[in-house]
Amino acid sequence: MIGSSHGSTRGCALLKQEAESAEFSLLPGTHSNISVEAKNGRKTVQPDLIVKTKSVYCVVEAKGLRRSSFQHRQLAREFRLAHTAEDKIPQQTPLLLLVLTRPPLVLIQGKGRQSLETAIMAGLREEISPEEMSGWQEKIRETVTWITWSDIDRIVQRNFNAMNIADRSVQASIKRLVQSISEFH
């Protein structure tokens, strides 16, 4: 799935390579104070998921199937979290993965539809000082990636169909997992 997302190729390739050991931490902001430094103090960030491997620190933000929008600084904060999280170790490549209902442009509260780069840069300008702004635009291209729910469903189905599993019980077990994605999606 991560190999089929659009955007950061390096981060996605690393994550795909290390997928077997990836650790998922769902809704990590619910019981931990995850925050990023902003002009007027630290701001809480509540990503949907953090996926960590030896070489990748991936912040995942998913949008529901109903019409939903990003708060206007949300993407910038989550993007910065991927880069500056307290528990991120230096050898981990930052990655922001967005799971969307449809391809960008994305809906930003009060701003209409914007490209990911525009939305993140606008948020960054409000959160950090002008002296700190250099280099971020490049990092957006290198470390932001997106995929849609229907892409995930399609890829999982396709890979399941291509699999050749001799053990029928194992095959049935995986099929149930695949179906759980399709049914909910």
């Binding site: 769902l26 619910t30 998921l49 953090i50 030896k54 695949v178």
Partner: protein, 152 residues
């Protein structure tokens, strides 16, 4: 002199948990100590137990559980350990992690528990809702044999 028949419920020095929205609003942590009263009787002044330099006025209704009558001798770390009992900490490659591994359903329930009256919207099973969808899909992806699925 008549004996007071009411005990102060929010005495100065006592230690409390602070609700999520108030944490986000004030930048304080989860555990706070009451250090003073505000002009508004509905509010108190609190400090973050782990970062005592952080101080803010919060509404009393945003305080949750009382953890200790007196901050003296109270160790926020030990409370956290008790609260996190049963959770498995992140693996060795990330010793400084403050995110912890926890069951997907457990995390979802924890998140929903903060939704107050809005919790009724989950009566349809949370169909199409972002946090439920994320839980369902990523839990399945987490459980799948990942190497077998690595073919593009």
């Amino acid at each position: 002199m008549s004996k007071p028949n009411r005990k102060l419920t929010y005495p100065i020095g006592s230690v409390w948990t602070l609700g999520k929205p108030a944490q986000a609003e004030t930048g304080l942590g989860k555990i706070v100590k009451i250090v003073g009263k505000a002009e508004d009787f509905r509010r108190v002044v609190v400090v973050d137990c782990e970062h005592p330099e952080k101080k803010a006025e919060v509404r009393i209704k945003n305080l949750g559980n009382k953890l200790a009558e007196c901050a003296k001798g109270f160790d926020p770390g030990s409370y956290k350990l008790a609260a996190n009992r049963g959770r498995i900490t992140s693996k060795a490659h990330d010793p400084a992690a403050h995110t912890v591994k926890h069951s997907f359903v457990g995390r979802l329930l924890e998140e929903i528990s903060y939704e107050g009256k809005k919790v009724r919207v989950y009566r349809d099973g949370g169909l199409g809702r972002e946090n439920v969808l994320t839980t369902e899909v990523f839990q399945a992806l987490d459980f799948m044999p990942r190497t077998l699925f690595s073919v593009k």
